[in-house]
């Protein structure tokens, strides 16, 4: 039998399963690109204004580290799309990872792959089908994004270059996910590995982009996110970069096929080892069980946070020394000097890290629903454990987990920064700034718990809320939205520490909102049927 036999049928199955999810994502991405571009177009009508804005951007090491460089200061397109080429590309990569995992490792884990694999389906067909679906999605995304950007008024060749840059990032991460899907026997772990790779390559790009001329700028070229930006849409349109991306995807896919050939269905590369015959004494509560289930994931997130925050904290101290010309230094001093700018950078960085920690909280709390649908909750709730106690177990891990992640991020960034500056007092203020992000992250966990109790089919509302809040924060100022609309986002209420004064009222309000959402969810959960299909 041909190893690819049945691929066509599996592609159709995948498209049937994703017929809602994929169009929604495409609309979100295309809408994000078009709205961001149209807002910037009106903001900088003259070339002089653009050059000024782009120069300011390129000078701020912090912004370059977070988003990348504006390669043509005169180009409207290059300036408009800078954030979407950086953080936007991260979302594009995450979607690629989710698409591939959903149709490969997740299918094996649930046992459905066994059902399908017993029919006339080749060994390579499931992976190939998932990659084809991802590639098709990104080809479509490239075309639709380009058309939308052209419609908004950006040049057509640059718009296609941008579309392809996004598609390249997506295809590269689909291939990375194809490899990680072979390594672990559960989808959650495989997604975690792929996201860890994403974090590493994002940091590599930041290191390369912020390097001095003559420094390790080549590091950018180790990163698929970096390739996306080296397309330089609207600033040279270097089409040949696509060859690098496709070459990488081809090699990674080949590696994935080689791994598929080596392992059994359902197994990872590492064999399952037997465990203890009796439970440890501590395993006697729902919370202990939840900790067992979350601990590996949480610890790997914490490792990622530690690495990311060390790099970003390290960059903070280089901000003051970047300006060579006396004029630039003069402007810099008038803007508030090194301390103010460094603080602003640290606050912005901690804000982004806070969003990522919220994402951890959302996925950890969504475990409640996963446990219910996998029928793991039923035997527990048939014991003397109340529904509230069980639901609180995963909620507690989600909330304490986000707290722990922010503490790690604060300590990592603070120590790296403090050590470079030789001033550990400032390190403490970074920790404080990191912990100030925690209440907003708890609100997101609260939204998931509320949905779980009141409308369990819609727990994914947690992700929707997270994306909506991020977009409100990023695009709200561009659209000059009313303050009360932007204030819907919990992130709008976080004091921008260090730098700004520490005000407790908004933090306490956020905690109260998180507690109320959680309480509403628990009340709903006490009243509803289990399981809700």
């Amino acid at each position: 039998m041909n190893a690819f036999e049945g691929t066509g049928a599996l592609v159709r199955l995948a498209l049937r399963r994703d017929r809602i999810m994929l169009p929604v994502w495409l609309v979100v991405f295309v809408g994000m690109a078009a709205s961001s571009a149209s807002a910037t177009v009106g903001l900088y009508p003259t070339v002089a204004e653009r050059v000024a804005a782009a120069d300011t951007f390129n000078r701020a090491q912090s912004l370059v580290a977070l988003y990348g460089r504006v390669y043509d200061p005169t180009s409207l397109g290059a300036l408009s799309m800078i954030k979407l080429g950086g953080t936007g590309a991260v979302f594009v990569a995450v979607l690629a990872i989710l698409i591939v995992m959903r149709h490969t490792r997740a299918e094996e884990e649930t046992g459905r792959q066994e059902l399908v694999g017993a029919t006339v389906v080749g060994r390579r067909a499931p992976l190939t089908a998932a990659l084809l679906v991802a590639a098709g999605t990104y080809a479509l995304l490239a075309v639709l994004t380009a058309l939308a950007l052209i419609a908004v008024g950006l040049p057509s060749d640059g718009s296609f270059a941008f579309g392809l840059a996004w598609a390249g990032v997506g295809i590269a991460f689909a291939a990375i996910a194809a490899i990680t899907a072979q390594l672990t026997s559960n989808a959650r772990g495989a997604i975690g590995l792929a996201v860890a790779v994403l974090g590493v390559v994002y940091v590599l790009r930041a290191i390369g982009d912020t390097a001095e001329p003559g420094g390790p700028r080549w590091v950018t070229w180790l990163s698929p996110i970096g390739w996306g930006q080296q397309f330089r849409p609207y600033a040279g349109n270097r089409w040949w970069v696509l060859l690098i991306t496709l070459g990488f995807a081809a090699v990674a896919t080949w590696v994935a096929y080689a791994l598929v050939a080596r392992r059994d269905l359902g197994a990872g590369l590492l064999p399952d080892r037997p465990g203890p015959a009796t439970a440890a004494g501590g395993l006697r509560s729902p919370l202990a069980l939840a900790w067992r289930q979350h601990r590996a994931t949480l610890l790997s997130w914490a490792a990622g946070f530690a690495l990311m925050s060390l790099v970003l904290g390290n960059l903070a101290s280089s901000i003051g020394g970047f300006f060579s010309s006396p004029q630039a230094r003069d402007i810099f001093t008038r803007l508030g000097g090194a301390k103010v700018l460094t603080d602003a950078y640290l606050a912005a960085m901690l804000g982004i890290v806070g969003v990522v920690a919220s994402a951890y909280g959302v996925q950890a709390a969504m475990r409640l629903r996963a446990e219910e649908t996998a029928q793991h909750a039923e035997p527990l709730l048939a014991t003397a454990i109340s529904r509230t106690r069980w639901a609180l177990s995963h909620t507690t891990v989600a909330m304490l987990g986000t707290t722990m992640l922010m503490l790690v991020a604060g300590l990592g960034a603070g120590l790296a920064f403090g050590a470079r500056e030789g001033d550990m007092g400032r390190a403490w203020r970074v920790v404080e700034g990191a912990l100030a992000q925690v209440p907003a992250a708890w609100v997101l966990t609260g939204i998931v718990v509320a949905a779980f109790g009141l409308a369990p089919r819609f727990v994914a509302a947690g992700w929707a809320a997270l994306v909506a809040f991020v977009l409100l924060g990023e695009l709200g100022p561009l659209f000059r939205l009313d303050h009360w609309i932007m204030d819907v986002s919990p992130f709008a209420h976080v004091p921008r520490l260090p730098g700004a004064p520490l005000v407790l009222t908004p933090l306490i309000t956020l905690i109260v909102v998180a507690v109320l959402l959680t309480a509403a969810g628990l009340a709903g959960f006490r009243r509803r049927d289990i399981p809700v299909p």
Binding site: P274, A277, T278, R284, A374, Q375, D529
Partner: protein, 307 residues
């Protein structure tokens, strides 16, 4: 005798599906009660209501003299449950799951746990994802049976077990029966298992109880089949009340007789002289088919139409 479980006119709907349509169920304390019905008849829904996982739309349910919904947590200390479909946490070993569930219920009897592990030949060191369906089932069974409770709710507990293990399961349940006060609700569609274990049976169909009683009661309503070799060719058997499908070949007689008319037939046969006699009591299968038999032609019809 008091009742361990009682439901009256229980109704539960899921959207347009009426899963339970006025179910009456009564399980006496200390008995093994068979809960029979084909797939989708409402057995699991009933058990989930008894566990307080689902809220009934109307009707009442009582469990161990308590309200299964509002007193769920306290009642659960006194019962153990084996779900119809056992899924285990992939990264916990079978032994850990047994201990965890037992502790959450209030305690594990270590001697009994070790005994059951041996009897069911389960390796407690494997991770959840490594167990086969039958072994997952054993984990749930041992977790339930190792705890000292008054009531066992077993939802198709032998699904996936091999015949040896099925026999072991029956043995364990019979032992449970001898320990006083333990009540078992055994949902199943395996008739031999129910026949072997249960004192009383409730047959459920489309969300209603269509028959309830002891096996002896129920048997009374059906026919016994008789094979006899007589001393001389009989006559007049066909005139006897309650005799059906009579087939006489010389001195050999085969027939079915309404169980309540068995006495009359035997008297007539012994009057002629009996050389050999095989009397077969009605199986539960026949009982079952009587209530579900009419579904067969319907299904065949729809198959014919769709084919």
């Amino acid at each position: 005798m008091t009742e361990a479980i009682r439901t009256d006119a229980l109704v539960k709907t899921f959207g347009r599906t009426r899963a339970l349509d006025g179910l009456d169920l009564s399980v006496r304390q200390g008995e093994v009660h068979g809960f029979l019905g084909p797939n989708g008849a409402g057995k699991t829904t009933t058990i989930r209501i008894l566990l307080g996982l689902l809220h009934a739309d109307s009707g009442t349910a009582r469990l161990l003299d308590g309200d299964p919904w509002s007193e769920a947590t306290t009642l659960h200390r006194r019962l153990a449950y084996v779900p119809g479909e056992v899924t285990l946490w992939p990264n916990l070993t079978g032994g850990e799951v047994i201990d965890l569930l037992g502790r959450l219920r209030g305690g594990v009897d270590q001697r009994r746990r070790a005994d059951l592990l041996e009897r069911f030949a389960l390796d407690p060191k494997l991770k959840g994802r490594a167990y086969s369906k039958g072994n997952r089932q054993k984990v749930a069974l041992i977790a339930a049976l190792a705890s000292d409770v008054e009531l066992l709710l077993l939802d198709e507990p032998t699904a996936g077990l091999d015949p040896l293990m099925e026999e072991e399961f029956r043995q364990v349940i019979r032992e449970e029966q001898r320990r006083d006060g333990r009540t078992v609700l055994l949902s199943s569609h395996i008739l031999a298992e129910v026949e072997a274990l249960c004192d009383r049976v409730t047959i459920i169909r489309e969300g209603r109880a269509v028959e309830t009683g002891s096996l002896a009661d129920l048997r009374h309503l059906t026919r016994t089949s008789i094979h006899a070799e007589l001393a001389a060719p009989p006559n007049g058997l066909a005139d006897l009340p309650g005799v059906h499908d009579l087939d006489v070949e010389g001195t050999r007689v085969r027939c079915e007789v309404d169980t309540e008319r068995l006495d009359g037939l035997l008297r007539r046969l012994t009057a002629i002289g009996v050389r050999s006699l095989v009397s077969q009591p009605p199986t539960l299968e026949e009982l079952f088919l009587r209530h579900y038999g009419d579904q067969l032609p319907k299904r065949q019809r729809t198959e014919a139409m769709s084919g």
